[in-house]
């Protein structure tokens, strides 16, 4: 076998690990997991899950195991981009939670159970959430409770409740707490009225208190037993709790951006035509739209069958985009939350378990429309810094320069001192010429803005 690279995301798992070889991702199933793996297939659970597109399908291979104590190597269907729970909007996290519960229900019906309920086991693939950890299933011992119940509450219910009841932006807690939001923290941040909601009272507040009480040395209770019916009742209760949590009605700075810009309808359509033309000229297979808002321009790429990621820092804009993607069944567009002034870092053990945004690239093409003024004026980021970072993210760059005279740039400058003497088109072009060559350039009709297509030097 060619040189293999073990993937950092799976080194905790005793059942197996992911590795790449020849550009293809494989998973080694360890001998210790063999009985459960064989039960997954023989019980019909794998066929049921894959048939409903709940679990990523895989092929078995004849490849030798690269690690010690290997039993088999399987090749899962490729998920082009791995996203993380702290990059998901409310409805994405909710969809991932409901998927996990559905997977667990089917597992119970086949005599198995989920060993873990990590939100990192779910990915968005072809427009839908899908469970990706084939080795998460174990035979359920008669009478055993759900070992992953606490993890489900930390990874899904707690952040969803915090987003719905306290503040939509609190999903960022999942970035710091890699094994889910601690329940005592969630309980203290949730408003008092949630104590009158039986689902949140029991699964979060009571759960938090009991974890503190019974978790002390010597305080562990005697072995608990649960029937299959009780487990079904518990899952039904969790499902009800998740379904009841609704997206909070909030208005954010950029949520209605397109309705509030200075573009006329004709200028907006002209910009769309230009962007579409530049995308075709770049001819990428993957495109990252940075500052995508609700994805109006990202859809120009996904409609051309380009695998497109639409990043925005506004959770309302990402929510709108995800709902549009779901309604249109757009399999090529994935909306994600990202603050470009503070992009996702490498986290977890040795900063290697979850990759930074840049480490998950590069894309064939990066698009930054109506973004430069937010980063340069709104965040004091020099053009040279921006050009260097964009060059690290992709090969081609479609970028819109917004002059200071533009109404949106004036809005940003209205509340601050203008300390940006070098914010001019010639400075922009000089800084970016250090990293890119301009392939195309056009004035956007009806505005003072200029659109560029650049290629990395």
């Amino acid at each position: 076998m060619e040189k293999t690279n073990r993937q950092d995301a799976s080194f905790r798992d005793p059942a197996g690990f992911l590795f790449a070889s020849g550009g293809i991702l494989y998973r080694q199933v360890n001998a210790v997991y063999r009985p459960d793996y064989e039960l997954l297939l023989s019980s019909g659970l794998y066929a049921a899950l894959a048939g409903k597109k709940l679990l990523i399908p895989h092929d078995e291979t004849d490849l030798p195991c690269p690690g010690a104590d290997g039993f088999r190597v399987i090749r899962p269907e490729k998920v082009p981009f791995i996203s993380y729970p702290y990059e998901w909007c409310f409805s994405q996290l909710k969809a991932a939670a409901l998927l996990t519960l559905e997977v667990q229900k089917l597992a119970l019906a086949h005599g198995m159970t989920l060993r873990d309920a990590s939100a990192y086991n779910v990915q968005f693939h072809k427009g839908q959430p899908v469970f990706i950890d084939t080795l998460s299933f174990a035979k359920r011992a008669e009478g055993s409770p759900w070992a992953a119940y606490g993890q489900f509450c930390r990874h899904f219910l707690a952040p969803l409740a915090l987003m719905a009841k306290t503040d939509l932006r609190l999903n960022c807690l999942s970035r710091d707490f890699i094994d889910g939001v601690p329940l005592d923290l969630a309980s203290s941040l949730l408003p008092l009225r949630t104590w009158l909601d039986f689902s949140l009272l029991s699964h979060l507040h009571f759960h938090a208190k009991a974890s503190g009480h019974y978790g002390r040395p010597g305080a562990a209770p005697r072995k608990q037993e649960m029937s299959g019916f009780s487990l079904d009742a518990l899952l039904d209760s969790l499902e009800g709790a998740v379904k009841k949590l609704a997206f909070p009605g909030v208005k954010t700075e950029w949520g209605d951006y397109y309705a509030e810009t200075n573009y006329s309808e004709a200028a907006f359509e002209a910009k769309k035509l230009l962007v579409s033309d530049f995308i075709e000229a770049a001819s990428p297979q993957t495109l990252w739209d940075l500052g995508a808002n609700s994805g109006e321009f990202s859809r120009l790429a996904s409609a051309k069958n380009i695998s497109t990621l639409a990043f925005d820092s506004d959770p309302v804009a990402v929510e709108k985009n995800y709902r549009a993607v779901s309604a249109r069944k757009d399999e090529r567009l994935l909306p994600l939350l990202a603050d470009l002034a503070n992009p996702a870092p490498g986290t977890g053990w040795a900063n290697r378990e979850r990759a930074s945004l840049a480490a998950r690239g590069p894309a064939d093409c990066v698009m930054a429309l109506a973004l430069i003024h937010h980063l340069a004026i709104g965040n004091n980021l020099p053009f040279e810094e921006l050009a260097g970072y964009f060059a690290s993210l992709g090969r081609d760059l479609i970028i819109e320069f917004v002059p200071k005279e533009d109404s949106m740039a004036r809005f940003l400058l209205s509340a601050r001192e203008d300390v940006f003497p070098k914010y001019a088109q010639k400075d922009f072009e000089a800084a970016f010429s250090g990293y890119f060559a301009v392939l195309k350039q056009a004035q956007i009709p009806g505005s003072g803005r200029t659109l560029y297509l650049m290629r990395k030097l």
């Binding site: 119940y149 039986f198 209770p221 037993e225």
Partner: protein
């Protein structure tokens, strides 16, 4: 529906005092798993009756829906 909401609310109110018997701050050397085992057993106990009624009712609905489907299927033959 209003009756169900009142039932849930009253169940929450009865449940709150239980919390104060097991109140403890989180600290090191705590195994959060143990609490999760206890909690799920208690919650399952509390919601099982409602779940049984819901499941039974669903089976009745499925039975009649199945009968209606069978009748429609038969009519189309």
């Amino acid at each position: 529906m209003r009756g169900i909401n009142l039932l849930l609310l009253s169940r929450s109110c009865l449940f709150i005092p239980v919390l104060f018997f097991c109140a403890a701050p989180a600290s090191a050397y705590i195994d959060p798993g143990a609490g999760s085992y206890v909690v799920q057993v208690v919650i399952a106990l509390l919601v099982s009756a409602g779940f049984a009624v819901k499941t039974f009712w669903q089976q009745i609905k499925n039975f009649f829906a199945g009968s209606a489907d069978d009748a429609a299927h038969g009519k189309n033959k």
